[in-house]
């Protein structure tokens, strides 16, 4: 205690205290904060909050009643899933015009996103946000997911979801980081250039199989560094950069070793 008392007036003491305080607040928040805010139980208050958020942040483009304006789609009937996908991945509100809306850190927290989803869902019936069970990769069959993915998705997203190019600067994003819920929602609602895969086209179970396949791909390759899983172009680049680079270096070294 004596040592502590002696150092009380050390000039770094406030900094240490501040750090401790921050850690405690953060820890308590993490322990007490609501883990997931699901829009399963929609209250009128949520819808009201959502409407206010919508009018403040979205109405400029989508119209005061989400009816859409010229070149901007109406949101009546897109459902909670579409709103949750667009807002939770940061695509909406859109940062700037471009070939397509890019993902960025989300602008709204989970509660606000849920409120927005609830508001838009109240405008007309549409796909709902999937439950945790619907997107649980452990319950899916990755083998069936592989077959479905390469028939329906790989032509844009690459064989293992590493992403690919579309026309005029648009692209199908890589799926390494996308959450299971967002993958499911994308199939369900078809954001941007992506087609809609409704439940008649790919059943909810099959969607879960695809999620399961994609999550399996994140474990990496059995053969070592996956080199971006981009196929022969990146392999060729590495063959020249690493392989031939080392070997020419070795040749110069051996050549310089005079006899």
């Amino acid at each position: 205690m004596k040592a502590l008392a002696a150092r009380r007036h050390h000039r770094l003491a406030p900094v240490v205290l501040l750090l401790l305080a921050l850690l405690t607040t953060g820890g308590v928040y993490a322990a007490l904060a609501p883990s997931t805010a699901k829009a399963e139980t929609v209250s009128t208050a949520d819808i009201e909050t959502g409407k206010k958020l919508f009018q403040a942040n979205c109405a400029t483009c989508h119209g005061a009643n989400a009816q859409g304006t010229e070149g901007v789609p109406s949101l009546v009937g897109v459902g909670a899933a579409a709103v949750d996908f667009q807002v939770s991945t940061g695509r909406m509100p859109m940062q700037m015009s471009g070939p397509q809306a890019e993902a960025k850190p989300p602008q709204f927290d989970e509660e606000q996103t849920a409120a927005l989803s609830a508001y838009v869902a109240s405008l007309g019936a549409g796909p709902a946000i999937p439950t945790d069970e619907q997107v649980d990769p452990a319950l899916g069959d990755p083998s069936n997911g592989m077959a479905l993915f390469r028939t329906n998705c790989a032509m844009c997203h690459n064989a293992v979801g590493a992403g690919g190019a579309l026309s005029e600067g648009k692209f199908a994003p890589a799926l390494w980081e996308t959450s299971e819920r967002n993958i499911y929602q994308a199939m369900l609602t078809g954001p941007q250039s992506m087609p809609v895969f409704n439940d008649a086209n790919i059943t909810p179970d099959e969607k879960r199989d695809i999620v399961s396949f994609l999550v399996e791909q994140r474990e990496g390759s059995a053969g070592g560094n996956a080199l971006g899983a981009l196929g022969p172009v990146s392999e060729g680049l590495w063959a020249f950069a690493i392989g031939l680079g080392l070997l020419i270096g070795a040749a110069v070294w051996i050549g310089a070793k005079s006899s």
């Binding site: 083998s143 600067g169 399996e216 390759s221 070592g224 196929g231 020419i248 040749a251 051996i254 310089a256």
Partner: protein, 569 residues
């Protein structure tokens, strides 16, 4: 060995005492192999690191043979269907696939060391082709293809083409979606050939694509025919190299009539062994740490899916790019009910045809326009043949632009560009780029030659400024030593061909004048712009008028004394 050779110098050869010596003596008494060993061990090879590029190709071929031998034991070249029962990878469990694909999975996940061997084999194939191309670049830019080595140049091109064939046939064996896409393109290319295309496709695939025959057929080609011819041609390539002696870089004392270097044994035996282990080590390291061609990513072959980022291995990428660049609309003609698909024929047959033809005819073309039938054993410095160097760089530019065009989707996603814009840029660059590259390279070469002339005539700038008594400032130049000068003045700068006049003395038109005129035109293209090497007379003249630069001892001191008050530097 050394005891044995020393012993032979004695008048009465003593019996060898060591075990190795005894064994060598035993062998020698029965085969006279000592003569051959002595001859070869004392053969002199010139020294340069770039002469080891071909060795890298040779050694990666050895690794290919060894690893391929292993893979052959576990691969089953059959297109019969089976359901995959293996647990790894989970995404393949229970899928219907060909036996070839299943055995590839089995080899990768069940056989001990199988995946490592597969990856070493594939990386070796990429490095084999890469080192061949780099070796060819060395040969081309230094003029090593000149007489008497034109035949070996052709053998080398055949080796490269066989390397492409080996890569292509091997790539298609696992029967996965990606290689199946490649086969589908091959099928399309074959079918695009007028008149015989469809029949050839039926012949290759044993019916309509994909059929049930292509994998076993490619397997036979891949493990038997192609490597067999490759081995034979490699032997011929090396035999010709030894027979014609290795070329050497220019330098003091090196002429077309000698070889300056070290004996094969022990110097090059040691260096080659070291290089072999380097190649083996790097390839094993790559195979162990970097995944390549994970066929389970693509899944068993099915003609319908094509994934984004579907490309061939790098050495075929130029063909892919050529196909991607070709506009599709309006280039498929139907003539009298026969389809002439120029959209395939031009990019996949004509363009590679032009590229390969250039490589094959170049040595003969250059000899013709140079009017040169001498033997050459001293290499050119690339700057001293500006037109050749320019053409080589133009060729590489075209090749690289096509390869980049083949990767246009990855360029689009990784650099956030529009794939349409990239394609148009490459379409234009394919025509403009090589011309621009030729011009720039040629000017750089001529500039370097002028720099060499300047150096030979005036020496190196020493950075030391001195002032004369009369107030004149000069910078002292140090003259080049003999080795430096030799390198810069010993080259040919051929002039364009001179031809006999159009008419003879009686005014009769000469036969063959038109052809001569055309060759002369081509020769002008090669040699109109040239920088001649400095002649001894020019050196002498430069030294006589530039006496300030070449100060003799006594003058030097006088200048030093006179410069006492001046501010140096």
């Amino acid at each position: 060995m050394s005891t044995a050779t020393q012993d032979t110098k004695h008048e009465a050869p003593a019996k060898p005492t060591t075990t190795v010596g005894k064994a060598a003596d035993y062998l020698d008494q029965r085969t006279s192999i000592g003569v051959a060993v002595k001859e070869f061990a004392r053969k002199v090879f010139p020294d340069h690191w770039s002469f080891m590029l071909g060795e890298i190709a040779l050694f990666s071929f050895v690794v290919l043979i060894i690893s391929g031998f292993f893979l052959t034991m576990f691969f089953e070249p059959s297109m019969a269907l089976e359901r995959y029962e293996g647990e790894h990878p989970a995404s393949m469990h229970g899928q219907l696939m060909s036996v070839a694909f299943a055995s590839t999975l089995d080899m990768s996940f069940e056989v001990r060391g199988g995946l490592l061997m597969r990856q070493i084999h594939h990386w070796s194939a990429l490095i084999f082709m890469a080192s061949i191309v780099v070796h060819m670049m060395r040969v081309f830019f230094t003029g090593a293809f000149r007489k008497p080595r034109e035949i070996n140049w052709i053998v080398g091109i055949l080796l490269m083409i066989l390397g492409l064939a080996a890569g292509f046939t091997g790539y298609s064996l696992p029967d996965d979606v990606l290689s199946g896409n490649g086969l589908r393109i091959t099928d399309g290319v074959v079918k695009s050939i007028p008149l015989i295309g469809s029949f050839m496709s039926y012949m290759i695939f044993g019916g309509e694509f994909p059929g049930h025959h292509i994998v076993p057929r490619l397997f036979t080609l891949h493990i038997f025919v192609v490597p067999g011819i490759l081995l034979a041609l490699i032997a011929l390539h090396l035999f010709l190299m030894v027979l014609q002696k290795h070329t050497q870089y220019p330098g003091g004392g090196r002429t077309d009539k000698n070889v300056v270097g070290y004996p094969a044994a022990p110097v090059y035996v040691a260096k080659m062994t070291g290089n072999f282990f380097m190649v083996f080590g790097v390839l094993a390291l790559m195979g162990a740490t970097m995944s390549i061609n994970n066929v389970w990513n693509y899944g068993p072959f099915d003609p319908s899916p094509v994934s984004a980022g579907a490309q061939p291995d790098w050495y075929m990428l130029f063909l892919e790019g050529s196909l991607r660049l070709m506009p599709g609309q309006g280039t498929e003609w139907v003539i009298f009910g026969y389809t002439l698909p120029l959209n395939i024929l031009i990019p996949a047959v004509v363009i590679p045809g032009i590229l390969f033809t250039f490589l094959i005819v170049y040595p003969f073309l250059e000899a013709r326009v140079t009017g040169d039938d001498r033997e050459h054993h001293v290499l050119d410095r690339p700057r001293n043949k500006p037109a050749r160097t320019g053409l080589g760089v133009a060729f590489l530019t075209a090749f690289i632009i096509l390869a980049l065009a083949g990767s246009n989707d990855l360029i689009a996603t990784h650099f956030a560009l529009s794939i349409n814009a990239i394609t148009w840029v490459f379409r234009i660059l394919f025509f403009v780029g090589p011309v621009f590259a030729y011009y720039v390279t040629k000017r750089i070469c001529l500039g370097l030659q002028r720099k060499d002339r300047e150096l030979v005539l005036h020496g190196h700038e020493s950075g030391r400024i001195v002032r004369f008594a009369n107030g004149e400032y000069i910078e002292v130049h140090t003259p080049l030593d003999e080795q430096e000068r030799w390198l810069r003045v010993n080259y040919d700068a051929p002039a364009p061909l001179t031809i006999a006049p159009k008419t003879d003395a009686r005014g009769v038109k000469r036969k063959g004048y038109g052809a001569d005129k055309r060759w002369q035109g081509l020769s002008r293209f090669f040699y109109e712009d040239r920088v001649s090497p400095v002649t001894p007379a020019e050196v002498a003249a430069a030294h006589s008028h530039g006496e300030h630069d070449e100060l003799t001892g006594s003058e030097h001191q006088a200048v030093e004394a006179g410069a006492g008050t001046s501010r140096e530097h």
